[in-house]
């Protein structure tokens, strides 16, 4: 074993790379199964028909999503094909408007606007926007905000009007509701449970 022979290190580079790639491939197969819609970490799209919560689990020592009883969305219980179509549209809207270049999703994206991982669970909808919009449900308040953000500013950094139509806004709201039910291993921690004393 001559450490000064490049061939030794070349063999090391090739074998290390191959071993790591094989491990990655096995872990990828498992991860994709766990994170598919209906997998153990990612709920089926019909979760939008249910109440969603976020509670600390002492056995896992982290916050976990909790799927509760029936909670129709926009006054409707969505079938699996309908929910899937709604999610597809929601994701296309999110991409077409480049939401990820102002907001973060699971902390990925841009940091100018709030993280949207648990946006569906944010108390601000009930506390601020439902009174502001006069909407009867949270989802209607969210739709109104997305369509006309310039009417409901809350601080000096505002969301621009991106000409989101009503069907598009509904699809995005449904997407955010589904996304809030994904098990993200506890991110973000303590969502909605703390109050800031400043």
């Amino acid at each position: 074993m001559d450490l000064q022979d490049p061939a030794f290190w070349r063999a090391g580079a090739i074998s290390t790379t191959l071993v790591m790639l094989v491990v990655l491939i096995f872990l990828t197969i498992d991860s994709l199964a766990v994170s598919r819609a209906g997998g153990s970490h990612v709920p089926d799209y019909t979760v939008i028909n249910h109440q969603i919560g976020y509670r600390y689990d002492w056995s896992r020592r982290e916050d976990v999503p909790v799927i509760g009883g029936d909670q129709p969305l926009f006054g409707k219980t969505w079938t699996e094909p309908e929910a899937r179509a709604l999610m597809q549209e929601g994701k296309l809207v999110i991409q077409s408007r480049a939401c990820m270049d102002c907001h973060t999703f699971f902390g990925n994206g841009a940091y100018y606007a709030p993280d949207l991982t648990k946006a569906w669970l944010d108390p601000a909808w009930q506390q601020i926007w439902m009174p502001m919009t006069g909407a009867k449900t949270q989802e209607d308040a969210m739709v109104d905000f997305l369509m006309h953000p310039e009417r409901y500013p809350t601080w000096n950094r505002e969301m621009p009007n991106l000409h989101i139509s009503e069907p598009e806004a509904r699809a995005v709201v449904a997407y955010l509701k589904w996304m809030s039910a994904i098990d993200t291993n506890g991110f973000p921690a303590n969502f909605g449970k703390l109050s800031i004393q400043h």
């Binding site: 490049p6 290190w9 070349r10 090391g12 580079a13 290390t16 790379t17 790591m20 491990v23 990655l24 872990l27 990828t28 991860s31 994709l32 766990v34 994170s35 598919r36 990612v42 899937r84 999610m87 929601g90 994701k91 296309l92 809207v93 999110i94 991409q95 077409s96 408007r97 480049a98 939401c99 990820m100 270049d101 699971f106 902390g107 990925n108 841009a110 940091y111 100018y112 993280d115 108390p123 601000a124 310039e150 601080w155 000096n156 505002e158 621009p160 991106l162 989101i164 994904i182 993200t184 291993n185 991110f187 973000p188 921690a189 303590n190 969502f191 909605g192 449970k193 800031i196 400043h198």
Partner: protein, 464 residues
């Protein structure tokens, strides 16, 4: 000069130009944080950010292409195969970038359907360019790969550096295919997106810049091929050995299994170790040459590469990579601080070093050393360190107030963004951004004029 090297100079010119566009877009993005109503509704933050991060990727990629087009003909002592096609694709590349930039500036977005993704904006970070442009990038990368592989085949010669480069081009090209899909399931979308982003900037690009640095060291310091190849293999082994499963540090919070916290955290925490070796190596090379060289700026930018990589990627990364910390630092300005420093150290400094090497050779200069390069070097690095420091303070404040204290709600976000430490960080970042921009201007002035300003010196024709 080989035709390929003339093409390299064109790539360097385009690269340096886009570097400037990136700086302007960066200043604009930073301005929104302190003047949020600036151009509001006309040109919003997301579009400015898209220009900033996409030109980052393109200027570095063009710098890499140019570097390979510059060094490869000398490596194989022949003109590159398919060089005419390569020359045509350069103009296609520039045209595509210009059209996409115009679309981002003047059209910006479309309705939520596949047509918008094909024509206007795909909205996935770093790969927002519409699909037609992504197809163009694939063709450009394939042409580049053909230029490299075809030449090696025609020359019937391979070197260690070339083997590593060619093998690296395969995943580099294939990974870009993730620029196309629009997956509904965001967990799957992000899973594959990170294959592209991480395996580009923390794997295949590391290997690519390693090859370029190997050639640069041979040219600048006369280091023997055996030594640079040995180091290249060691570097590939350590960087890919830690970086492939270090990909897992992006899989902590996206809906993937919990074992990624251990696996990703562990391998990611190992990533600084090869960078420490590179810094020691850089000291060795600097010392054996007594800091003397015929191209001072190239030499110092190579040193900046080693140090910047270690500190920006290694130190800053290690601060935030352990999952218990990352739970709070994730998705804050702390990440921005790390990202700027890491990209700067790992890639930008290296590409600038090659700019200077090419300027020296193409103008037949015996020696490159003047005052301008020092000002450019100083202002750019001082500006970068200042920006990164400001972002670090803002990021720590954000992690503290928004995430740890506030629980990451909208209210917590607003409180943190309004925190005096955070706001001071944003103002400081903008100020240091202007210093960085000044450094860029000096760098461009120096690169454009080096060798043309000084009185005529007896310049022996240097074998280009």
């Amino acid at each position: 000069m080989y035709r390929s090297q003339k093409l390299a100079l064109r790539y360097f010119t385009a690269s340096a130009t886009l570097f400037g566009v990136m700086v302007i877009a960066g200043l604009l993005s930073a301005t929104y944080y302190v003047f949020p109503h600036f151009l509001f509704g006309i040109f919003n933050f997301n579009m400015s950010k898209i220009l900033h991060i996409d030109t980052l990727i393109i200027w570095l990629l063009m710098g890499f292409f140019g570097s390979v087009y510059w060094f490869l003909p000398k490596e194989l002592n022949r003109e590159l195969e398919g060089i005419r096609l390569g020359e045509i694709m350069f103009w296609v590349f520039c045209a595509a970038v210009a059209v996409v930039a115009a679309i981002f500036i003047f059209v910006q977005y479309g309705p939520g359907d596949e047509t918008s993704l094909w024509l206007i904006n795909q909205g996935r970070k770093y790969v927002e360019a519409p699909r037609w442009a992504a197809i163009g990038i694939v063709l450009i990368v394939l042409t580049f790969a053909y230029n490299v592989i075809g030449t090696a085949i025609k020359a019937r010669r391979m070197t260690g550096i070339l083997w590593v480069l060619i093998l690296d081009l395969i995943p580099l090209t294939l990974l870009y295919l993730d620029a196309f899909p629009a997956q509904t399931n965001i967990s799957h979308d992000l899973y594959w997106w990170w294959w592209l982003v991480h395996m580009w900037v923390e794997a295949t690009w590391e290997v690519l810049i390693g090859c370029i640095m190997a050639w640069a060291l041979m040219e600048l310091l006369g280091t023997s091929r055996r030594i640079v190849e040995t180091w290249l293999y060691i570097e590939v082994m350590l960087v890919l050995g830690t970086g492939i499963l270090g990909l897992g540090h992006h899989y902590f919070w996206i809906g993937t299994p919990r074992y990624w916290l251990s696996i990703g955290g562990f391998f990611s925490a190992l990533e600084p170790l090869p960078l420490l070796g590179m810094v020691v190596h850089a000291i060795y090379d600097a010392g054996t040459h007594h800091m003397q060289t015929t191209n001072k700026p190239a030499f110092y930018w190579l040193l900046a590469e080693a140090f910047g990589n270690f500190i920006g990627a290694g130190v800053w990364g290690f601060m935030m990579t352990l999952p218990q910390i990352n739970l709070y630092s994730h998705g804050t300005q702390w990440t921005v601080s790390h990202g700027h420093f890491a990209f700067w150290g790992a890639y930008a400094c290296g590409v600038i070093a090659v700019f200077y090497l090419a300027a020296q050779r193409s103008r037949g200069l015996n020696m490159v050393d003047n005052r301008s390069w020092k000002w450019g070097f100083g202002l750019l690095n001082f500006g970068m360190v200042g920006m990164v420091g400001a972002l670090l303070i803002a990021g720590i404040a954000q992690a503290f107030f928004e995430r740890a204290e506030g629980g990451s709600t909208l209210q917590a976000f607003v409180v943190a963004q309004s925190n005096p430490w955070f706001e001071m960080g944003m103002y400081s970042r903008l100020a240091f951004g202007f210093i960085f921009a000044a450094g860029y201007t000096v760098l461009m002035y120096d690169l454009l004029t080096v060798g043309k300003r000084a009185p005529a010196v007896a310049a022996q024709s240097v074998a280009a």
